[in-house]
C-alpha cells in the first residue's frame, strides 16, 4: 500500500513537471493562487536558506553566535530574519512600554527616556554593515575549515538602520568637561557593556530603532540598540538601557578579556575598533559544484569599517593575474558592496580569490603575510584574502593558497 502510494506520488510529480514546460499550461495557472498573509515568509522551496552553525556555550542556549548564509544571498541587504546573531546570554523578552534608557554620569542633566519618547526624535536612515569582531576567525587556524562561506564569514550582515543620532541625546543631557568616554550597557541577562569614545558618539553613532524599515528584530536589539558604523559589532550594544558618561574606559570584561587581539609575542592589542577592509567571493564558494566549463559570473561582497570600497580585484588563476571587478552602485561607506566579474572557466583546476582596497588606501592582506605579522593566537579582526579551489570536476573548496 505504502509502495503504491509512493509510486503514485512519484508519477504525479513526474506528470506535474512535464505539464509545466511549454507547450503545456502549468497547474498553477489553472486555478487561483493562495490568499493574503499578515506577514510574509520566504518561498517554501527556499527553506534550506537558514542561519547556520549556531554555537552556544556548554550548558547554555543563547550564549554564542549564528551566521548569515552569505553564499545563498545576493545584493547587499541582509534579510532581517537571516541577519547574524551574537548574544552573550540569550535574547531578552523586552516589553517596549516598560523599557527605559538612562543617560547619566558626567552630564548636567541625568535623563530617562521611554521608547515612545525616542520615536518622536529626529531620525536618520543609513545603510551599514555590522560585523562581529570574531568573524572569519577560523582563518587563523593552521588548516582551512571545511565550511561554507557563510559558516566561515557569516558574522557580517548589512541593513538599513534608522534611529536617533546619539549626539542629540547627549546634547540634551549636556556632557560635562572631561566626559570623554561612555559606558554603554544592554538590558540582557549579561548586562553586556562596552566603553565608547565620545568622539564616535558625537560623530555617526545612532540609537537604532528600525532595521530594514521595521522595528528591530528581538535578536538584534529590540526595542533599542546602539549602532556604531564600521566598528566591531560587539560595541553596538543591543537592548541598550544605560549610557554613563565617564572620563576613562571602564575596562569591562568584553574590552579586556575578550575583543583584544593577542599577538605572537604575548602582547595584546586593545581598542582595535574599526573592522578592516575585507572581501570574499560568495559564488562560487566552498560546497558548490560547477556544472561544467563555460561562462560564470563571479559574485562577492566587500566592505571596510574604515571607509568606502574603492576597488575589488579578482584572480581566477591562483594570483598570477588580477582583474578589476565591477561594483554595483551605489557604493556606500561602511556598507556591504557587491562586486561581479564574468569568468569563462576552461574546466581546469584553479584557485579563485578576491582582494579589496578601501578609499583610505588599506588593502586586504594575503593570509600567509598576515599570519607572519600577527601570529595564530588572536581570535578577532581577521581580514585575510579568502581562496577557493576549483577542481576539474567542478567542486569548490576552501584552501590556503
Amino acid at each position: 500500500m505504502a509502495a503504491l502510494a509512493a509510486s503514485g506520488l512519484l508519477m504525479r510529480r513526474t506528470t506535474d513537471a512535464a505539464a509545466a514546460e511549454p507547450p503545456e499550461v502549468p497547474a498553477w495557472m489553472k486555478s487561483p493562487g493562495a490568499g493574503f498573509t499578515d506577514y510574509g515568509a520566504p518561498a517554501k522551496y527556499e527553506s534550506k536558506v537558514t542561519r547556520t552553525l549556531a554555537r552556544s556555550q556548554a550548558g547554555t542556549t543563547g550564549s554564542g553566535a549564528i551566521r548569515t548564509p552569505l553564499e545563498a544571498l545576493e545584493g547587499t541587504i541582509t534579510p532581517s530574519g537571516l541577519h547574524f546573531e551574537r548574544s552573550h546570554s540569550g535574547v531578552p523578552d523586552i516589553d517596549p512600554a516598560k523599557h527605559r534608557l538612562l543617560i547619566h554620569g558626567m552630564v548636567k542633566r541625568p535623563l530617562v527616556f521611554t521608547v515612545d519618547a525616542l520615536l518622536r526624535y529626529p531620525m536618520v536612515s543609513r545603510v551599514h554593515f555590522i560585523e562581529c569582531a570574531g568573524n572569519s576567525q577560523l582563518l587563523y587556524q593552521p588548516n582551512p575549515p571545511n565550511l561554507t562561506a557563510g559558516q566561515t564569514h557569516g558574522l557580517v550582515s548589512c541593513s538599513e538602520w534608522t534611529g536617533v543620532p546619539l549626539r542629540l541625546l547627549l546634547e540634551e543631557a549636556g556632557v560635562e568637561r572631561g566626559g570623554s568616554w561612555i559606558l554603554a550597557e544592554g538590558a540582557d541577562a549579561a548586562a553586556m557593556s562596552r566603553s565608547i569614545p565620545m568622539a564616535k558618539a558625537m560623530d555617526d553613532a545612532m540609537l537604532a530603532l528600525f532595521q530594514n524599515g521595521e522595528r528591530l528584530r528581538p535578536e538584534n536589539g529590540y526595542p533599542l540598540r546602539l549602532f556604531l558604523p564600521g566598528w566591531e559589532g560587539n560595541m553596538s550594544v543591543k537592548w541598550l538601557r544605560r549610557l554613563k558618561v565617564v572620563s576613562a574606559p571602564t575596562m569591562t570584561k568584553d574590552e579586556t578579556s575578550r575583543y583584544t587581539d593577542l599577538q605572537a609575542d604575548g602582547k595584546a592589542l586593545m581598542f582595535t575598533y574599526p573592522m578592516e577592509v575585507k572581501s570574499l567571493i560568495t559564488r562560487p564558494s566552498h560546497g558548490m559544484t560547477l556544472a561544467g566549463s563555460g561562462l560564470y559570473q563571479i559574485s562577492g561582497l566587500a566592505w571596510s569599517g574604515e571607509g568606502t570600497i574603492r576597488k575589488v580585484e579578482v584572480t581566477t588563476d591562483g594570483g598570477r593575474s588580477w582583474v578589476t571587478a565591477a561594483l554595483d552602485a551605489p557604493v556606500r561607506p561602511r556598507a556591504l558592496t557587491r562586486f561581479r566579474v564574468p569568468w569563462r572557466w576552461d574546466g581546469a583546476a584553479t584557485v579563485l580569490k578576491s582582494r579589496a582596497t578601501d578609499d583610505a588606501g588599506h588593502v586586504q592582506p594575503e593570509r600567509e603575510k598576515f599570519i607572519v605579522e600577527h601570529g595564530n593566537n588572536a581570535i578577532f579582526h581577521c581580514n585575510v584574502i579568502q581562496a577557493w579551489s576549483v577542481a576539474a570536476n567542478g567542486e569548490v573548496k576552501h584552501v590556503y593558497a
Binding site: 530617562v112 542629540l168 574606559p249 592582506p365 593566537n377
Partner: protein, 178 residues
C-alpha cells in the same frame, strides 16, 4: 531659476548647513533621573574603583560560594570545563597554545567584580550580594596567586591589586590596529 528660487535654495543650504553642525531641534522628552533610579542601575565599576559598593570578602569566604554557585560551569578551583578556565596559564601567552584566564590575561581586578556582579552566575545574574561578589573575586585572585587567602577585598583594596598581565596591553585607539 528665478531670483526667488535662488533665494529659497540658498536658505535651504543655510538651514541644512546649520543641521550639520548640531542645531537640530529636539522635543526634549527626557525626564530628570532621580538619584535612587541611577543608584539602582549604575552597576559598572571602573579600574580606579569608582562604582565599587560597600562590603568586603576574602578568599576563605569565597571558596564555599564558588563551590556552590560557580564550580558547575568553571570546574573545581577555576580549572575550567565545561566553560571558561579561570585560573593558571601564566607564562603561556607568547606560546603556540596560550591559556587566557583571569590570572594570566585579565588586566584589571575591578573587571572581575564588575563582571561577576552583572552577569554571574549565568542562570541567576545579579543575585549575589556585594559581600559574596567581593568574596568570589578574592577567591579567584587567590587561586591565581595574586593575593593571600585572608586578604580582604573591598572598595579600597580591590583597585590596588595589580594583575600580572596588566602591562602587556597596547591601546590602539585612536590609531589603527592593522
Amino acid at each position: 531659476m528665478s531670483m526667488r528660487e535662488v533665494a529659497c535654495a540658498a536658505l535651504v543650504l543655510i538651514l541644512s548647513g546649520c543641521a550639520g553642525v548640531g542645531r537640530v531641534e529636539t522635543p526634549n522628552l527626557g525626564r530628570a533621573a532621580t538619584a535612587a533610579e541611577i543608584a539602582g542601575w549604575d552597576i559598572s565599576v571602573g579600574p580606579d574603583g569608582v562604582g565599587l559598593p560597600p562590603g568586603s570578602g576574602t578568599a576563605l569566604k569565597g571558596a564555599p560560594i564558588y563551590e556552590q554557585k560557580c564550580q558547575a560551569c568553571h570546574g573545581a578551583k577555576g580549572a575550567g570545563q565545561p566553560n571558561d578556565r579561570l585560573v593558571g596559564g601564566h607564562g603561556t601567552l607568547a606560546s603556540k597554545t596560550p591559556v587566557r584566564t583571569v590570572g594570566s590575561y585579565w588586566p584589571y581586578a575591578t573587571t572581575v567584580f564588575d563582571y561577576v556582579r552583572r552577569s554571574m552566575p549565568y542562570v541567576q545574574p545579579q543575585s549575589l550580594t556585594n559581600d559574596e561578589v567581593y568574596a568570589v573575586t578574592a577567591y579567584l585572585l587567590h587561586l591565581n596567586g595574586i593575593i593571600g587567602e585572608a586578604d580582604e577585598m573591598n572598595a579600597q583594596t580591590l583597585p590596588t591589586v595589580k594583575m600580572p598581565n596588566r602591562d602587556n596591553f597596547i591601546i590602539v585607539y585612536p590609531g589603527r590596529g592593522r
